[in-house]
């Protein structure tokens, strides 16, 4: 095979681009991106926010869950362009360099994570649950958490951590 090494030719690619302006974790961002770039890949590989993971790219596993305008959504099912004008929060917003947030501490104390690949998604899902101010039974919480898969823990300790966090009415902000 003769590789067609043509970095410069990229400029001539018929790749439609869009410009997206969004606020991510409190910082305004404007980027030109390929129209077909997913929101998850935008967050990960354009903004370097690699705490948001990708597991199936079809909206089932939930690894890519982030908050868009306060709603927990699967960012693999959104295009980067659709983030235009939105407020996005990722796991990196929970605790930057300071102490862990109360929710993160719950996860650590309850051994609610093993490999940690699904953890950001559970944290963001729970952040949205906490913000809603509602209350849930344990069975209802299990339903709420069913949008994110975990293959390591068997979920029990995750549900424990989430339940304790919600029961304590903790605000999920660092340093509280």
């Amino acid at each position: 095979m003769n590789p067609a090494d043509s970095d410069t030719a990229r400029l001539g690619l018929p790749e439609p681009n869009v410009i997206v302006t969004t606020q991510v974790n409190g910082t305004s961002v404007t980027e030109q991106v390929p129209a077909r770039l997913s929101a998850a890949d935008f967050l990960r590989h354009r903004l370097g926010l690699t705490g948001t993971h990708v597991g199936c790219e079809q909206g089932v596993c939930g690894m890519c869950t982030v908050l868009v305008d306060g709603q927990a959504i699967k960012s693999c099912l959104m295009l980067a362009g659709q983030l235009d004008g939105c407020l996005v929060e990722t796991v990196e917003s929970l605790a930057a360099e300071g102490p862990l947030s109360p929710l993160q501490e719950r996860f650590r104390d309850e051994h609610a994570l093993q490999c940690g690949f699904c953890t950001p998604a559970f944290l963001m899902t729970t952040t949205a649950l906490a913000a809603s101010g509602r209350t849930w039974t344990r069975a209802e919480l299990r339903e709420e958490l069913a949008g994110v898969l975990c293959r390591c823990t068997g979920y029990e300790f995750i549900v424990n951590a989430v339940e304790a966090h919600l029961a304590a009415g903790e605000r999920n902000q660092p340093g509280d």
Partner: protein
């Protein structure tokens, strides 16, 4: 160091082991600051996409990549011929004993033998463009006759998948045994038998496979970031296939998003990324998408067990035999077909006469590889379902029948009919605890009556198991042709601040190795847990080791840590004695972050001062060499067998076959518990996978087309948070006499007993209907069919 010299828990002076401490891994993972392979980005990295055979079996007649090569952004296209010219076959690390090699390359040569097998590889400036290029590559396939079903593959007239190597699709048959099982069968009062079908499943780690290969031209250094459970073994395999000296290869594995056995051994894409990186002289990344994962990452479990148990009328087992057929898939993957169905074929039961035959069969499906349990869940389903059948045949209590046949505590070590040395345990106690906890006696005495409220029947089922953890020395592995040892190793290095760095080739796949290693190091050395860092998975930093699999890491690493800490401690105390003017270093002890005189507590020196002096190499005692780092290896002499009993309580609707698991309980023993909460985490995680396998997981192939019909997350049932029954765990802790600290492995145990316990609970509930469950997964439809079939048989 011999095991006899190793510390026992009672002699350990600190309280770091045996407790749950904040995991070393958690802070970064909770912040989203973990480093999974796709989190590593490199400037100018190219991205790779792989074209895969869409047929289960096809000859590759021609490949025309000219249009793809002309696409802007396409950098390189590799085909089978290129791979054959540039690499050797992918090395098999754990061959099936006696099996002929079926060499395979990173890309299919003339023939592809499963749907999803890589055929062509493209590197481009983006994954999008690489996938666009795949669309433009014209591959002419000539579909060949295929066979999907493992038993059909053995039938006369089945298409032979590897005709150059094999005369049939039987790769190898491994008979093993002791005594005369056939004679015992003849003289037994009762023989029960069954054919048990274990469905093909996938371990489904949430992180798919990923690799980033970097080649520094001229420097001869290939750096490979990859999501693997065994970085040093990956390096060995890459060296062999790429024909590059291993000294020129560095494998780096930081965080791994779940392994479960699937991320053992080099995959074709690991090699392809390296080939692209070398020829393009730029970094090349490949991240498997989920659809690829379902077809290109090894599957597990699929097998058919023909099991027989012979017993006297009083219930005493005379012989157990299992002739089982494992589906290999289209190729022999590096960690190949599971082998432990043979090793623990008799479970916890004492039987002198036994026979096992393992048959490995090639089919046109994705290759089978290691998956948590590695044959043990499969065989447990067979023998434990049959134990209940035997109890019903004899009119015996299934708990008492099990208890009377178990290896007793005073009979260890005991050698089973295939040579496995069971180390120690109290198997019956676990069974009794489980029976008590689920109210077995009350249930048994109440008889089988439907509940007046809803007509459902309640059943209780048990499954007793042993789990082989760790390897019985390198001799055991050598005798089976395995290309790795049984050892682990660590390097411990002191820092001027008084902290310690521990380097291990084990990778962090979620099991908490960093935490447990740090706990052991703190315990053995005497310093504070939070002053220890554990660096995992970098072959450039760690001594040679084996890896994170076979529930062996803690067993083997404990020995290495004990030895390294002892030597580091001795030198630390010698230098401290010199600094304090104490003649006998034996009078000193490491207490947290100081070295202190045991008689005069005012005599002390900070660890940081001792370490600094050693690192600087100034002011040392005469003859003392500078530096404070130690490397130790340890090879366990024997495996250790974890054990326990699971119990399930099911409510079954005899009309619809629908059932509900009211309760699931497991009593488990993995020897001395080093971190009870991490053990619970391991067991619960394994149970969830076991429950998935028991209740819904099944990779289905269409026999007509040979296509995987449910290879997406949408179609494959992996349990969510609301799909699992309540699970209670109980523990006993009988130390193993064969391992450091008396530990046994805990990594795979949860998978083992689940399906049999649930099957037994449903069959107990439906005892009035004479139902036998012999196939996984157990779905309401299958229960309904079993009820219908048994009522037809009885009319």
């Amino acid at each position: 160091m011999s095991v006899g010299e190793l510390a026992r828990p009672a002699e350990l002076g600190h309280a770091v082991l045996g407790t749950y401490l904040p995991r070393k891994e958690d802070d970064r993972l909770l912040r989203g600051a973990g480093q999974f392979t796709d989190d590593v980005d490199r400037a100018r990295a190219a991205e790779m996409a792989v074209g895969r055979c869409p047929y289960p079996h096809a000859r590759i007649a021609a490949i025309d990549a000219s249009a793809a090569a002309a696409l802007d952004g396409v950098l390189e296209i590799i085909t089978g011929a290129d791979v054959a010219a540039r690499t050797g076959p992918i090395a098999i690390m754990r061959p099936v004993p006696g099996a002929p090699a079926i060499p395979h390359f990173a890309l299919a040569q003339e023939t592809a033998t499963y749907e999803g097998q890589p055929v062509v590889s493209v590197a481009a400036t983006s994954r999008h463009i690489a996938e666009d290029a795949l669309e433009l590559i014209d591959i002419e396939y000539e579909p060949l006759p295929h066979v999907s079903d493992v038993m059909a593959a053995l039938a006369p007239g089945a298409p032979v998948i590897h005709p150059g190597t094999l005369e049939s699709n039987l790769l190898v048959s491994n008979p093993q045994g002791r005594g005369d099982a056939a004679a015992r069968m003849d003289e037994a009062d009762v023989v029960v038998e069954g054919r048990f079908h274990l469905a093909r499943v996938t371990g489904l780690p949430m992180e798919t496979r990923a690799v980033l290969a970097e080649w520094r031209s001229g420097a001869g250094a290939l750096t490979v970031h990859t999501s693997t459970q065994a970085p040093h073994l990956m390096r060995t395999q890459l060296a062999d296939s790429l024909r590059i000296d291993e000294g020129d290869i560095r494998v780096v594995t930081l965080d791994v998003g779940g392994g479960f056995g699937l991320k053992l051994g080099a995959y074709p894409e690991d090699l392809l990324a390296c080939l692209h990186a070398i020829s393009l002289r730029r970094p090349v990344k490949f991240v498997e998408d989920r659809n690829e994962h379902f077809r290109a990452t090894t599957h597990g479990r699929e097998s058919v067990h023909d099991y027989r148990i012979a017993a006297r009328s009083d219930g005493r087992i005379l012989a157990m035999t299992d002739v089982y057929t494992n589906d290999l898939g289209g190729l022999n993957s590096p960690f190949g077909s599971s082998q432990l169905s043979t090793v623990v074929f008799n479970g916890p039961y004492k039987v002198e006469d036994g026979f096992v035959e393992r048959r490995i069969v090639v089919t046109n499906k994705t290759p089978i590889g290691a998956y948590r349990g590695y044959g043990q869940p499969e065989v447990n389903f067979a023998y434990e379902r049959l134990m209940d059948k035997l109890a019903r045949r004899l009119g015996a209590d299934p708990v008492e029948l099990r208890a009377m046949n178990m290896v007793r505590p005073d009979e260890f070590p005991w050698v089973n009919p295939v040579g496995a040395v069971y180390d120690s345990g109290d198997y019956e106690r676990c069974l009794r605890m489980a029976a008590e906890a689920v109210g077995w006696a009350e249930h048994r005495d109440a008889g089988h009556e439907p509940r007046p409220s809803d007509g459902r029947y309640r059943g209780i089922g048990f499954s007793c198991y042993v789990e082989r953890t760790g390897y019985a020395s390198a001799k055991f592995l050598a005798a089976r042709g395995s290309r790795f040892g049984a050892h682990e190793s660590v390097t411990i290095r002191a820092n001027r601040s008084g902290s310690l760095d521990v380097y291990t080739g084990v990778s962090s796949i979620g099991q908490g190795s960093e935490t447990i290693f740090a706990q052991m190091c703190a315990e053995f050395f005497g310093c504070d847990y939070d002053r220890i860092r554990v660096h995992t998975g970098d072959t450039g930093a760690s001594p040679l080791n084996t890896g994170s699999f076979a529930s062996r890491t803690v067993i083997a690493a404990a020995g290495a840590l004990l030895d390294a800490c002892a030597r580091l401690r001795t030198k630390t105390l010698r230098i401290a004695a010199h600094m304090l003017g104490v003649a006998d270093p034996g009078q000193l002890d490491v207490v947290g972050q100081v070295v202190q005189h045991t008689g005069d507590l005012t005599l002390m020196v900070p660890l940081s001062s001792v370490f600094e002096r050693a690192i600087l190499g100034q002011g040392l005692p005469d003859g003392e060499l500078p530096g404070l780092d130690e490397t130790s290896y340890f090879e366990p002499p024997e495996a250790a067998y974890s054990f326990g009993t699971a119990a399930a309580v099911a409510l079954v609707d005899p009309e619809s076959g629908e059932f509900e698991l009211e309760r699931f309980l497991m009593v488990h023993d993995c020897g001395t518990p080093l971190s009870p909460k991490l053990i619970d985490g391991q067991v619960r995680g394994g149970l969830a996978q076991g429950l998935g396998q028991a209740l819904g997981e099944e990779l289905v192939y269409d026999p007509e087309t040979g296509q995987l019909v449910n290879g997406t997350m949408m179609d494959y049932f992996a349990p969510t948070a609301c799909d699992l029954p309540p699970v209670d765990l109980m523990h006993t802790a009988v130390p193993s006499p064969f391992t450091p600290l008396g530990v046994r492995g805990a990594g795979e145990v949860g998978c083992i007993p689940v399906a049999a316990a649930i099957g037994n609970a449903i069959c107990d509930a439906l005892a009035p209907f004479g139902v036998e469950i012999d196939r996984l997964p157990i779905t309401p439809e299958r229960v309904w069919r079993a009820i219908r079939d048994s009522s037809r048989a009885s009319t």
